[in-house]
């Protein structure tokens, strides 16, 4: 495998994007025009008994060409109502993420410092982690209703795990020599924690936050799609799915969601590189996968 120069990589990447775009365009145009007026595939407000999925549903395999989707996505950037919705999603996202960090970091530092507690708690966590957080949406909706509190609560729950894991894992990776040195100089336990372990663990915490940020977006959008009313990007997508030729809007919403995800990830990666330029890829070593 020969080396590729940076510039070649950029040009090739651009070519790849154009090719993908072209392919989507071709597929969209091959499908012909939009179908005639048809009843919507399902009603969100009807009783959820699964009956609505039966008679009256006509499959629509019409996919609009990529250029139309892109044009619509750009158009949405000027739509006040849409932007408010995105803002609402981001607000819940930020709140949930912030809360989870506020809980997970001190908890992780505590757990990581006391090895016995840590290995004991690990058991409980091993059982809770595989549970898909979206499964909690019905439960939390029953407990807290269908407002923003539900969204934030779910996001917080889901985001605690990656941050918690990475904090504990990062603590385990700190150099014991550095700790012993400080202790030899008479610094107390808390001092050692703050002066050595916290800065050493910080890159891992940052990586955990990056993973949690993606998780938070998933939960935010998922909760919105299911709740059906209110403000949010997920709401927009779900409601567009009901409209008769809403496919274009649905895809435009998806584009926005993807761009949002990319921007969030990019900002966080850049932040990590700026703050912790010395750490290589090992930061992502913890088991911080999506729950």
């Amino acid at each position: 495998m020969k080396r590729l120069r940076r510039r070649q990589e950029l040009w090739l990447g651009l070519l790849g994007v154009l090719l993908a775009f072209g392919a989507c365009e071709a597929v969209g145009r091959a499908g012909g025009g939009p179908p005639p007026e048809q009843p919507p595939p399902y009603q969100i407000h009807a009783p959820p008994r699964g009956v609505g999925g039966g008679a009256g549903v006509v499959r629509r395999s019409y996919l609009p060409p990529a250029s139309e989707v892109l044009a619509r996505a750009v158009e949405l950037g000027g739509d006040r109502a849409f932007l408010d919705g995105v803002g609402a999603t981001l607000k819940a996202w930020a709140l949930g993420l912030g809360l989870s960090v506020a809980i997970a970091v001190p908890l992780g530092l505590l757990l990581g410092s006391v090895p016995l507690v840590d290995s004991a708690v690990r058991v409980i966590v091993e059982f809770l982690r595989p549970l898909p957080s979206v499964a909690l949406i019905p439960l939390v909706s029953l407990l807290l209703g269908t407002g923003t509190e539900t969204k934030v609560a779910l996001i917080t729950y889901a985001c605690v795990w990656p941050v918690l894991f990475n904090t504990v894992y990062g603590l385990g990776e700190t150099d014991p020599l550095a700790k012993d040195t400080l202790r030899a100089f008479g610094f107390g336990r808390l001092s050692v924690l703050l002066r050595v372990e916290l800065p050493g663990t910080a890159p891992f915490i940052a990586a955990g936050i990056r993973i949690s940020a993606a998780v938070a977006l998933i939960l935010a959008v998922a909760t919105e799609i299911l709740s059906g009313f209110g403000e949010g990007l997920g709401i927009f997508i779900a409601q567009a799915g009901l409209a008769t030729d809403g496919t274009r809007d649905v895809l435009a919403g998806v584009v926005w969601a993807g761009v949002l995800g990319l921007v969030i990830n990019g900002v966080l990666v850049w932040g990590e590189r700026r703050l912790f330029p010395w750490t290589p890829e090992r930061r992502a070593g913890g088991r911080g996968g999506r729950p």
């Binding site: 990447g13 399902y42 290995s119 595989p130 998933i218 998922a222």
Partner: protein
């Protein structure tokens, strides 16, 4: 001493180490039992309908799904009608994602230019929160099993694909030279070098894909208009405010998730060998 063998991770361990491992398992069991007991006591004392005690939850789960005839592994009709379809869809989606992801990932990772070509598109695809895609599949496929399997497969393929590609890219250049010197043809190179070398990375991707598969399986069944599945059980119970069933379904999902993850880990250990797992 120079020339000593590279550290052998699964060298024979002494009885002390075995004792420590056994002690760990015991500790974990004890903690689990204590935690459940505490939960039981607290829930009983609080007596809230929203937080039933674990004993009751387990009881409901048993009654709903595991109190059937012996011949069918104790599964009830409800279990067969709900759990099996869910698992089937998840398995199909995950299977498609795994095979496609590994195949495409190896193809992309093999050459520098293919990777540079596909990388931005892949990064975008991976950044889209999967639940946002489900409405697209609803529009294209209409509700039902094809939509669900497609949602699961399409969302779960990216972590496998990207991790496989990066695993293939990270092949040791010296080993590539060896393959050139041994005059291995492209198929042999793939089978004897690229694939085994990338296997740890591939499994890291598969683990992520598995959890995404679970998420999408549940999510696609939470949508109104589904007729069966664990997710449907959840929304159905939610609409009836049947909290006990909701908790029972969550318990089932947690156990399922745990079992599947453990199984994947076991497969990884078997294929990759103990010295090389990333878990």
């Amino acid at each position: 001493m120079k020339g000593a063998a590279a550290p052998v991770r699964n060298a024979a361990r002494g009885p002390a180490a075995a004792g420590r491992a056994g002690g760990h398992v015991l500790l974990r069991l004890v903690v689990l039992v204590v935690a459940v007991a505490l939960w039981q006591v607290a829930a009983r004392a609080h007596a809230s309908v929203y937080f039933p005690p674990p004993g009751q939850i387990a009881g409901r789960a048993h009654e709903l799904w595991f109190s059937g005839p012996v011949g069918r592994l104790f599964l009830t009709d409800a279990a067969v009608a709900d759990i099996l379809p869910s698992l089937g869809r998840m398995a199909a989606g995950f299977g498609i994602a795994a095979v496609t992801g590994i195949a495409l990932g190896l193809a992309v990772g093999r050459s520098r230019w293919a990777y540079a070509l596909c990388n931005p598109v892949l990064q975008f695809a991976r950044a889209v929160p999967p639940p946002a895609l489900v409405p697209v599949f609803v529009v294209v496929f209409a509700l039902g099993t094809p939509m669900q399997v497609a949602s699961i497969a399409f969302s779960a393929v990216w972590p496998v694909l990207i991790n496989t590609a990066e695993g293939a890219r990270g092949t040791d250049p010296l080993r590539l030279d060896v393959a050139a010197v041994l005059r291995l043809n492209p198929v042999e190179r793939l089978w004897f070098l690229l694939l085994p070398s990338a296997l740890p990375r591939i499994f890291a991707g598969l683990r992520l894909s598995l959890s995404l598969s679970l998420i999408l399986m549940v999510f696609s069944e939470l949508l109104p208009g589904t007729a069966d599945g664990i997710g449907f059980t959840l929304t159905d119970a939610q609409s009836r405010s049947d909290l006990l069933t909701v908790w029972a379904a969550l318990l089932l999902l947690g156990v399922l998730g745990y079992v599947l993850n453990t199984a994947l880990l076991a497969v990884e250990r078997r294929l990759v060998g103990r010295g090389r797992t990333t878990a």
